[in-house]
Amino acid sequence: MATTTETAAAAPSLKRRFMELLAKPWSGVAMLLVFYLILIAVFSILSPFFFNTRNMLQIGLNVAYIGLMAAAGTPLIIAGGLDLSVAAIAGLTGVMISLLVGLGVPVWVAVGLALALAAAIGVANGLFTTRLKLNPLITTLGMMSIVSGIALVLTGGLTRPLMIPGFNWIGNERLFSIPIPLIIMVVTFFALWLVMTKTKFGRFIYAAGGNAEASRLIGIPVERTVIVLYVISALAGAVAGTILGAMLGAAGPNAAGSQLLTVIAAIILGGTSLNGGRGSVWGTLLAVLILGTLNNGLTLLNVSSFWQDVTRGVVLMLAVSLDQLRNRALGE
């Protein structure tokens, strides 16, 4: 009898220890960091071109506009929202700047107008999901379709040139040899970290996502908080579109669309719970770097770029599984 109990107890104890580890608040970020370091080590061994300052900065530059959108999407998902229209907004922004400049509008005014439009789209997303209580997945999927559709209509589906003196530097210049887009991304992450962990508004984000009804009943402006976060996400989409246009010297109506999945994957992989209430921007940043490093490393190893869609999908599904396991670990 005693032996059966012991063997029965020994087998699940390893599993239980794993679950207890998952339940720790820092477990997600720690695991990501380890995974990132392993990834760097593996690619360094496999490719002589991988581990050097130039390539590392190149990875940073490649992921900067994706990271921007993922950074802003993180507090939104924590608060219980979701924005699938963010990449479409990036596309429309580039198109708008290009068209407005073509009409003789000064480029920075054009950027300002594009940002204002993005903010309006964010407000619309926010109002639909909070006041009308529509499902954010459906609402922003619809918005994505509308926004990318408009961008296609405006351009006839063509990519427009965006070579404007005094503009393209935000995509191509460096400050202290660090690419400007990378600086913008890191500053955004840092600013959001400050807001989310050190301010009253940040506390409202976690409270609203953790338990919206309880938050409402203690007089927290849940709806306003979520609407503001939709606006921030839309603005990040617009800034991402601006940077991408400046980097490429061209504005495609669907320039960032293929990266929507990367943005969502990074947020979830970064440990933000799809159920809301839990997550951090640092987790998202690590996840963005991991996804960018995977892409870069696989390219250096001459793996077809089509395979990179597969790896991204696998990583996303692993991340969601881990989120589910973590929920279970916390539930017990």
Binding site: K200, R203, A214, R216, L217, I218, G219, R278, L330
Partner: protein, 504 residues
Amino acid sequence: MSSTARLSMRGIDKSFGGVPVLSNVELTLEAGEVVALLGSNGAGKSTLVKILTGLYSRDAGTVEVDGQAVVFGKPADAIAAGVKLLPQEISVMPDLSVGENILLGDLPMKPGFGFKQVDYKTIHIRATELLAQLGFEALDTHQDVKRLSVAEQRIVEIARAIAGQARILIMDEPTAALTEQEAELLFAIIRRLKEQRVSVVYISHYMSEVFEISDRIVVLRDGRNAGDFVTATTNKAEVLAAMLGATAGDLYPTEPPPPPGTDVLKVEGFGVRGKIADVSFAVRSGEILGIFGLVGSGVEVLGRALYGAVHSERSGQVTLDGRPYRPSTPQHGKEAGIGFVAAERKKEGIIADLTVRENIALPFQSRFTRGLFVSTEAETGHAQNWIRDLGIRTRGPEQKLRTLSGGNQQKVCLARWLVEGVKLLILEEPTRGVDIGARREIYGKLRELTAKGYAVIILSSDVEEVAGISDRSLVLDRGRVVEQFPRGVTPAALMAATAETQTA
């Protein structure tokens, strides 16, 4: 006798991360016996039940069912051995019929068209038989379960357990969502189950229920057996003493109420469309006003309507400190100086993933913010004060609220409002699902707060609570005030007040 016991758990040990939760616990159950399992939150009840139902493995000890040693590695093992848990939340498939729900575990099949099909005819015949065993053959087995009342859904759930040949039923707070009459119905079913030699482990915070339905009362305290009583020969005081240990005393504070001050909230002809009509009362500072009502009486709406958390159209006059007061959002109520604690703690009260410190500071976050940033020091100091003052059992202000027991979570919900400027506390079901030790502490604290000038309104469907704590009490029925009582009212009188109108 013990060799033929239906269930015998002996020497059960269980610890989590080195902390013992159960030590040498024993629980026996004869065939057809109803044993109430009592204990404060954290006493080990739920851990014991999880071991019995195969959710946790035990560290040591033996479990025997009908004399057979068993090891439950997973919940399915326990179910196969005839051990079935009815959780507090009813789990039925709303879109399936009564019959399908009852026989879900083993749907009868018949051949036809070359493959096996569900045999609906047999389903309804067998489901009706099972319901007849419980005395509910009148329930139509063809209708969808979502059309049933909560109590009827409970019956379906119990019938399903019997269909699965359950011989040991564990009922966790089975009356939580039921009205008094529905609870009586449940007790009638339990008595029928007894006749059929089904054994029941009955878990409840309601002492009166336990005394009504159980044969034996087993008390756990701090993970150990603290008492085993034959219900017929014991009394509440004895059981309470076992639950609370040496410190047992009165559940409700005995000190006299402070002299009442001025009217804080005055309500005249207050109504909420479709829920409440023509309610008038006043509550003074230093006073605890109890409002008793059964589910559906309006007791679940009145408090939140006065706080500003109800959207429906309201009528009547409300004044707060002599000034007209018409809240339409919780923010209004809060800014006017009202604190509100909702009935459903998990759904409407706690923010489980935030810490104790963050939860306490949340409603008045601006007061803990210096310039742009939240001051963690200010929050910590404030939280530590109330952790000490309210006796919140936690490792410290940085512990996540989800890991605290129900009673301690409730104290955190209360602590949120104990800041300057709040003068009225509206508390819904303030001790629902709270263990007896914490209940006593909460009641004592409310008395203390009134001495400091707070006015308190308690809305509750727990008749003993309203009778025990109130300086004055109202009885709500069908949205109207039907009676008022001074301090010292008996639970029977409160209950009678609702019963009168219901038969009239």
